[in-house]
Symmetry: C2
Subunit: 381 residues, 2 copies
């Protein structure tokens, strides 16, 4: 009897690498394997592909190649702006929203030991940052100030209103703006030149690229704020031999995602609609944490099962049934603390939240099967 194929609905945690990306990386393991900093043929060939990948990514996001810096992922990129910026620019204040990812919250909080004020701006019940409170926080902050506002939330899928935020942040001198785009770049339309953002970042493995590779966008003309120093790589913004296969894989994956964005978006939005509609038919008590509509990512659905008291038990039961979903974010898994994002939007701590997240690889048939598993499981536990 063939094993039933599992249904992976945890694409906000990580995604499988698509075959064309595996193939694109192949020549760079032991053929074009040189160090891009080496001047000989092997090195020069590696350099060419690194710069070609940079141009590909820059073009897809409508920015200049010189504004893209390769890193090991989203978390390193965020830490570069926060900690590298602290060491080089000397943040006096860091303003974050209540629903930032831990890769922003934790390095910011550490800097309170080093006399940096960290101000958390609350959100509304949909997870959007409160604009008036953001404005006040910026006005009252000691400069230089870093403002971090996540674009698409990784737990509940809220999309923050970047146009409105820009009009507040960009009015002030010595105020820099950082936007976590890990869940949006490759998933929804992003023209990085549109908002006058100072720093933004993404992670390859969230869009079917390899783990261990990401990038930081940094607006031209800003001071250098390296976190990791060593060789002159990335124009002194990031030391260490470039992860050539990773960079090629990332560019290939992002190109596939953005070239097919409309098709993917419609497909995933349909999966999400179908999923939510059918979920609510299972039980009227099932609710969605965060927004459901246009102002949310099509990829993420955070579901509240009020009948279920133990989200871990529910997640495990789904897992046994062949459905992979998560409690909050993967980065917070293993810890028992209640999600700071759900707390920020006022979800009671005793109602089981489960995050389902889709990718272009998921099918409507998988959604149907997942609903069957959910149905059978929630009435059992």
């Amino acid at each position: 009897m063939p094993e039933k194929k599992r249904i992976y609905l945890d694409n906000a945690a990580t995604t499988p690498v698509i075959p064309q990306v595996i193939k694109a990386m192949e020549p760079f393991w032991n053929q074009t394997f040189g160090n891009p900093s080496s001047l000989h043929e092997e090195g020069r060939r590696a350099r060419v592909i690194v710069e070609e990948s940079r141009r590909t990514i820059a073009k897809l996001l409508n920015v200049k190649p010189a504004e893209i810096f390769f890193t090991s992922g989203g978390t390193e990129s965020a830490n570069t702006v926060i900690t590298g910026g602290f060491l080089e620019i000397g943040w006096k204040s860091i303003i974050i929203t209540a629903t930032e990812h831990k890769c922003v919250i934790k390095p910011a909080q550490r800097l309170t030991k080093h006399d940096v004020s960290v101000i958390t701006v609350p959100t509304d019940r949909r997870g959007k940052v409160l604009l008036q409170e953001l404005r006040t926080a910026i006005e009252q902050s000691e400069r230089p100030t870093l403002v971090a506002t996540i674009h698409g939330n990784n737990e509940i899928g809220t999309i923050n209103p970047l146009d409105d935020i820009a009009s507040i942040v960009k009015k002030h001198r010595d105020v820099y703006w950082l936007v976590d785009m890990v869940q949006t770049i490759g998933h929804i339309q992003v023209d990085l030149s549109h908002w006058d953002i100072d720093f933004a970042f993404a992670s390859a493995h969230k869009f079917h690229g390899p783990k261990g590779c990401g990038f930081l966008f940094m607006k031209e003309g800003l001071p250098s704020i390296p976190l990791i120093m060593g060789g002159a790589q990335e124009r002194n913004m990031r030391g260490g031999t470039e992860n050539v296969p990773g960079i090629v894989g990332m560019a290939t994956a992002l190109k596939w995602m953005i070239d097919n964005l409309d098709k993917h978006y419609n497909h995933i939005a349909n999966l999400k609609r179908t999923f939510i509609k059918n979920l609510k038919e299972i039980s009227s008590e099932i609710a969605i944490n965060g927004p459901e509509g246009e102002d949310s990512l099509p990829t993420i659905v955070n579901v509240r099962f009020p009948q279920v008291k133990d989200p871990l038990l529910l997640q495990m039961s789904l897992d046994i049934g062949g459905v992979s979903a998560s409690i909050g974010s993967a980065c917070a898994s293993g810890t028992t603390e209640f999600s700071h994002v759900l707390k920020a939007i006022g979800v009671p701590a005793d109602e089981a939240p489960i995050r389902f997240s889709f990718s272009p690889l998921n099918t409507i048939e998988e959604v149907g099967r997942a609903l069957e598993v959910i149905k059978s499981v929630i009435f059992k536990i």
Copy 2:
């Protein structure tokens, strides 16, 4: 006419990934692709392999698995100790040798802006740190102090006397010891538990593993000093989704290197001996920068060609002849400044230094062919 195969003698810059490593990484692109922090089956399977890789590496180096932290490479590891340590432990002094890699020098120097004293201890003409000067520097340093002594130098191959250094460093309270083992781990015998080192690091792509992956050894019981914060990965020492294929590849490569270490060592030492002997027969003016014997790495030969005034021209001519070698280190390539390592050992700036570096994959036949190319080239330019 078939193209003549190039001779890659720049293995200290980077190495090709060996086929068994490519194969070992394969299942982790889109089969076992989960996020190790996820609690479902995909995540748990990824977690298992990450921890298995950690145990493999720990065992090969005779330390505990809990003492190994995965990073994106050597440079990140060094920066973790220097900058993470500054933020968490609060280095007042950092003592480095004159022949450290830039991944140690640069982050240390940056901290002088933040009231950290950086003291550079000179070396002898072979590149070994002067022990009496090291002792004095430590005694006079304001604590807490970080002492960084490179194990095997990446430009001239000098092996520092860790036994002697340990007897000096480990006498003092609030003095921490960091050892750059990028060129030694996997290449010469290293029992990491032997010297009571606090921090050491290595990089996978220097031993036929993938780029973008390395590790930091940190002695049990030391305070947590993360550089990159976010999720609770690596027991809160390094946020960001683990580079699962990279970690598996690194463990596989290191196991191959260490399981075959004696065989590789003898093979490479023979290549180096043959190379040097024949070089000197080409011209009696050709000399070696740094030591040649037991106190040097078998992998690295830094050659001085006093007849040649322009090392770049020599390197390019070798490249055209099919031989890949480097001027100093790859990390310093592209810059025109004279190597700080060669300056430290008293090499005149007007004598062309070329580094040749071997790996187990090089053959004696390649060394013979390289010598022919060198011969034909140096008399031409």
